[in-house]
């Protein structure tokens, strides 16, 4: 913000990610962790990125932030933040963005704070790096940040070490650290996975409140569709390094098209189900990212899969509502999809039988 490059008002979207690929060269071959992901994010909005472990959601966020180890890394495509291209910048150049423009909260609050540095110092570090203020002012700012993340007795806490706080408190400190220099975009990578449900709700509410007050955009990465359902404006579902369905939140839940999204949503136990309801499951495991299937990456586990899916990978195609995109030849809720599922059931395909047998299926 003190940096003159960010002074003028930029009119376009805050973040434009175009065809980002992030591959790693390893002894076993090229791992295609992120393989052609595009999305845009407007100021003050939240996008939720959802998928199973290993689908590339964490690598995507770190790739956008420029936080990946450089050995064996192949990073292609374009990441534009307020029109500035981030791909190709050195870590030194990225310093102008980290903290003051882009910031991040990590999953594990136990390990993302420095255990031998007082909390106050961890917060003021980024304030003093980016804002031209004296120590006194930075301390006052740190105290008000701790108050805003609802930490009781903030003045005393500034002089404490991370181990003196509970898990929920530590995650609040991480939020305070991330917000210290007033970023315009916050990445939250599984911010509540390590926390209890009650604490999770507190932390998510706190993040939403801070986001509103600061008009900050957020990328919320999680494996829990429940976490993003009430909080994201848009949801992108990732599978094997790609976005397989993306839609405004309401449209996604009302009119999902991708069988993977359906399978994911159907496998979650819900409070509205009666006790002992049989859950729908997804057979098999996510594909190997070194040697992924040739056609649709979800085909080996899909209840709707046909011969065409094995050969040709479906492109992202638009759905009925604006902003809705999905990758499928036989989408859920269409005549082709229904016919494919019926055919697979008749042939006894395990995925199709499992899906139709379960009583938790979401259509």
């Amino acid at each position: 913000m003190t940096d003159s490059r960010f002074a003028e008002q930029y009119e376009g979207p805050l973040l434009e990610v175009t065809d980002v690929k992030t591959h790693f060269e390893t002894d076993r071959g090229l791992v295609r962790s992120v393989d052609g992901v595009s999305f845009t994010l407007e100021r003050g909005k939240t996008i939720g990125i959802v998928g199973e472990s290993g689908c590339g959601k964490t690598v995507l966020s770190r790739s956008v932030m420029g936080l990946l180890p450089r050995r064996g890394l192949i990073r292609e495509g374009s990441v534009k933040f307020e029109g500035h291209e981030l791909v190709g910048l050195t870590p030194k150049e990225m310093r102008a963005f980290w903290g003051s423009q882009l910031s991040m909260i990590f999953q594990d609050p136990m390990t993302s704070l420095n255990p031998v540095m007082k909390i106050g110092k961890q917060i003021t570090e980024s304030i003093r790096q980016h804002l031209d203020v004296d120590k006194e002012f930075a301390n006052d700012l740190a105290e008000s940040l701790l108050t805003s993340v609802r930490i009781p007795e903030p003045r005393r806490r500034l002089g404490e070490y991370p181990h003196q706080l509970s898990g929920g408190m530590r995650q609040r400190v991480c939020i305070a650290v991330a917000l210290a220099a007033g970023p315009k975009l916050l990445f939250a990578d599984e911010p509540t996975t390590a926390l209890d449900v009650t604490v999770q709700a507190q932390v998510l509410d706190l993040m939403a409140e801070q986001q509103r007050e600061r008009f900050m955009a957020m990328v919320l990465i999680t494996h829990d569709l429940g976490v993003v359902a009430g909080r994201a404006d848009e949801i992108a579902v990732m599978y094997a390094g790609r976005i397989v369905e993306k839609a405004p939140t309401n449209a996604l839940f009302r009119d999902l098209k991708m069988p993977y999204t359906q399978a994911l949503l159907s496998s979650i136990p819900k409070l509205s189900h009666a006790s002992h309801t049989r859950l729908a499951t997804i057979p098999g495991r996510p594909p190997n990212l070194i040697n992924p299937p040739k056609g649709c990456k979800f085909e080996p586990r899909c209840a709707y899969a046909q011969d065409r899916c094995k050969e040709e990978e479906p492109p992202l195609q638009p759905g009925a509502s604006p902003g809705h995109e999905f990758r499928c030849w036989f989408p859920v809720g269409t005549p082709e999809g229904a016919q494919a599922l019926e055919q697979n059931c008749a042939d006894g395909l395990p995925a199709a039988v499992a899906l139709t047998a379960a009583s938790t299926v979401v259509i």
Binding site: S166, A229, L264
Partner: protein
């Protein structure tokens, strides 16, 4: 929540496992202080029943599970399995009860010995108890592996060659092989992806039916708990809060803490907006110095003077639904946890 009492126990003789007035305390260094992990908790389990223990971290649910299998034994209280008082047993006599009680842990990968073949891991229980000869053991191992959905052909492989979900299946096979009557499942699905979680939940339901198992299911995810259990026991800071059948209890929680836990669950439905006023505020008090009277009173919107002075007794609030609270929640009552002042 600080509740005590045994009103919720069924007649002695009906229950397979009966735990009464369980207390587990841990000394804190040489300070003379102690952590009150579990304070006067009672519960019972019938044959083939699943009882879930739920609550936040630090509520004593895992400690209760471990105290049941005497690892470590409780500070005081009684644990009876089929009429045998386990807390009085020592050494060889206690060891003899082990095949009847097994345990499944949260992290499937670290709970399997990485240097052993999975076939040997599963067979170990049979070898220790000298059940059958080599041939019948091999057959038994093969059978259990098949039932949990692991191809026995891969029996020579080691745990690192399997995914987390598969390792959890192997842990279940290991627990099943001695044909136990009771399995303590300590957060068995919380380290797994949602798709794998569903597979393991279904598997546990199948195993329960097939072997007539009783399960103590320890978890913090209330949606998972509702799915798997016959009875749910909610704990707070080592104390009993509420016990009931999940369908009824979730529809009308009687304890304010149960209501708070239910309100905190994010539902995968954008129509249900989380309500910040219903979110439980504050922090769990220190178990070294728990609040007097009802331990939940410091975070409870219904707390009155009596809650500070007197610990509530367990009572039957509705048929089959037991609560330890002076002012149980009436159906339709809205609780505003955000209004409780915190210190």
């Amino acid at each position: 929540m600080a509740g005590r009492g045994t009103a919720h126990l069924r007649p002695e003789g009906e229950a397979m496992l009966r735990v009464e007035h369980l207390v587990v305390e841990f000394p804190v260094g040489r300070t003379g202080l102690k952590v009150n992990a579990v304070s006067d908790l009672s519960l019972d389990i019938l044959e083939g029943e699943t009882v879930a223990l739920v609550g936040e971290s630090g509520c004593g649910k895992s400690t209760t599970g471990r105290a049941i299998i005497q690892l470590p034994p409780p500070t005081s209280g009684s644990v009876k399995l089929d009429g045998t008082e386990l807390t009085k047993l020592h050494g060889e006599a206690l060891r003899r009860t082990r095949p009847r009680m097994q345990m499944i842990f949260q992290d499937p990968i670290s709970s399997l010995n990485p240097r052993r073949k999975i076939r040997d891991i599963v067979a170990e229980g049979l070898e220790i108890w000298e059940i059958g000869d080599d041939e019948s053991r091999a057959k038994k191992v093969q059978e259990v592996l098949e039932t949990v959905g692991i191809d026995p052909v891969g029996g020579d492989r080691r745990p690192h060659e399997f995914s987390g979900g598969q390792c959890q299946r192997i842990s279940i096979a290991r627990a099943l092989v001695t044909e136990p009557k009771l399995i303590i499942c300590d957060e068995p699905v919380s380290a797994l992806d949602v798709s794998v979680q569903a597979q393991i939940i279904n598997l546990l339901a199948d195993m329960k039916e097939r072997y007539g198992l009783a399960l103590v299911f320890i978890a913090h995810d209330l949606a998972v708990v509702k799915n798997v259990s016959d009875r749910v026991l909610v704990m707070y800071l080592g104390k009993f809060c509420e016990l009931g059948a999940p369908d009824e209890m979730y529809a009308a929680p009687a304890h304010p803490y149960t209501a708070a836990l239910l309100a905190a669950i994010p539902e995968p439905d954008p129509e249900i907006r989380p309500d910040p006023d219903k979110i439980l505020g504050g922090e769990l008090p220190s178990p070294m110095n728990p609040p007097s009277g009802c331990r939940f009173r410091t975070r409870c919107p219904k707390a009155q003077d009596i809650c500070t002075e007197q610990e509530p007794e367990v009572r039957e609030f509705r048929p089959g639904q037991f609560v330890a609270c002076h002012f149980p929640v009436e159906p339709g009552e809205e609780l505003e946890f955000a209004r409780v002042p915190h210190h």
